[in-house]
Amino acid sequence: MTRGVAGHSSPGSVIRVHPLTVRITHWINVAAVFMMAASGWRIYNASPLFPFTFPRDITLGGWLAGALQWHFAAMWLLVGNGLIYVAYGIISGHYRRSFLPISLNSLLRAFADTLHGRLSHAVGEYNALQRMAYLGIIAMVILVVLSGLVIWKPVQFQTLGALMGDYPGARLVHFFSMAAIVLFVVIHVVMVLLVPRTFVPMWTGRARKPL
């Protein structure tokens, strides 16, 4: 039904699971997301949308102007790196091979399998839930960037802003897409902690098929 990056290979053999471009952009993205989130929380604290603020110790920039400087510097890293990653994913066929096809049926089946404790975890191949999570996080980063553009330039990008409910609406979109990204990161890291053998391949790109 699906083809993994590795194609068909015998048990015990070492296969390439993560292309070099994906590995490089992944780790740059880790740094970029960290800087964007930590400085963004500091900016949020200057005028909270909700009745809470982020603890200062986990924010970046020291004060509002410093946080804004970090945010508007790191945005180039996030967007530049993200564009390289998406362009590579589309052109190389990485997305098509790794994330597609995805169907409601396959998602429901994967969900049922999870409940029964038999969700498949083939090396070099993503199950339907993983596919949805990875496509979803790409969509969320695109949304956080678009809403960020509207907040940064509500006059120049007012057509895009109108789709999000003007400047105040874009702030909400920006906040909730940030929250979705942070939620993804937490789950993602917990998953790696639960299955530590997935960590090293994200650096080396190689994994051994279980015997």
């Binding site: 508007f72 510097a73 509500p154």
Partner: protein
């Protein structure tokens, strides 16, 4: 969402915070050392000064990007009278009760720099110039926004009337509360940039900048100086009160 400028905005407070958070930021940078900073700056991550320099340079770069993004003919959205935020928030680096008191009768707006006719202007003279009204959104650098109704002289009309050098780079403002800021000429000539004399059809109240403010719906709130006493045109970068402390200079919307 009442904002006392105190915590985030008070300059003395900021300096104290800076010191207080220096240690923390060094810690954070330690956590960032996984290539993040070196990728961003290509320099020694242990050097606090270098990090600051990189961030400032990125802010200057963002000035240029914003100048390119700025469309001098694109208008900021305007709103219905019913959308006006009431009460409109007061915002400054001091409390509302500390807003400067300016005597309107003796007030004379001073002009200097690259301007042909530099004679001072009284409020009556300014009121006799063509007037325009706008209902636009004021966006604060802190994130909040509010819709207000401002009336006054289109700034372009005023600059043309006094024979300002419209090819100069900057227009600078000095205010009665020791605030100062400056804007690019393209924004100064934008059709909605306004030398504001009235708020909600009444004489501009003291809290909102009597005797006059500059209303720029294409820039963040701190680029809208209140209590303007002097205007000058120059090709030398004049900076600004918050800009010199680290806020982005162009700050366009």
């Amino acid at each position: 969402m009442k904002r006392r400028p105190g915590i985030e905005a008070n300059p003395v407070e900021c300096t104290r915070q800076e010191i207080r958070f220096l240690e923390r930021r060094l810690l954070l940078k330690g956590a960032l050392s996984v290539g993040a900073l070196s990728l961003l700056s290509g320099c020694d991550i242990t050097d606090e000064e270098t990090v600051h320099k990189v961030l400032w340079n990125m802010s200057r770069w963002n000035d240029r990007v914003q100048m390119a993004l700025f469309d001098p003919r694109r208008l900021a959205p305007t709103y219905a009278e019913s959308a006006v935020t009431r009460p409109f928030p007061f915002n400054a680096y001091y409390r509302e009760s500390e807003a400067p008191v300016v005597d309107g009768d003796s007030f004379r707006l001073e002009l200097s720099g690259l301007i042909r006719d530099r004679r001072p202007w009284s409020l009556a003279e300014l009121n006799s110039l063509p007037q325009a009204t706008q209902i636009t959104r004021h966006v604060c650098v802190e994130g909040w926004s509010a819709i207000g109704k401002w009336s006054g002289v289109p700034f372009r009309t005023f600059l043309e009337r006094v024979g300002a050098d419209l090819n100069a780079s900057y227009v600078g403002f000095k205010c009665a509360d020791d605030y100062y800021t400056s804007i690019d000429m393209a924004t100064a000539l934008h059709p909605q940039t306004q030398l504001t004399l009235r708020f909600e059809d009444r004489t501009l109240p003291r809290s909102y900048g009597f005797p006059m403010k500059l209303r720029i719906p294409t820039k963040l709130g701190f680029k809208n100086p209140k209590h303007i006493m002097a205007i000058y045109v120059t090709n030398v970068y004049p900076g600004g009160y918050w800009e010199d402390k680290g806020y982005n200079w162009f700050a366009g919307l």
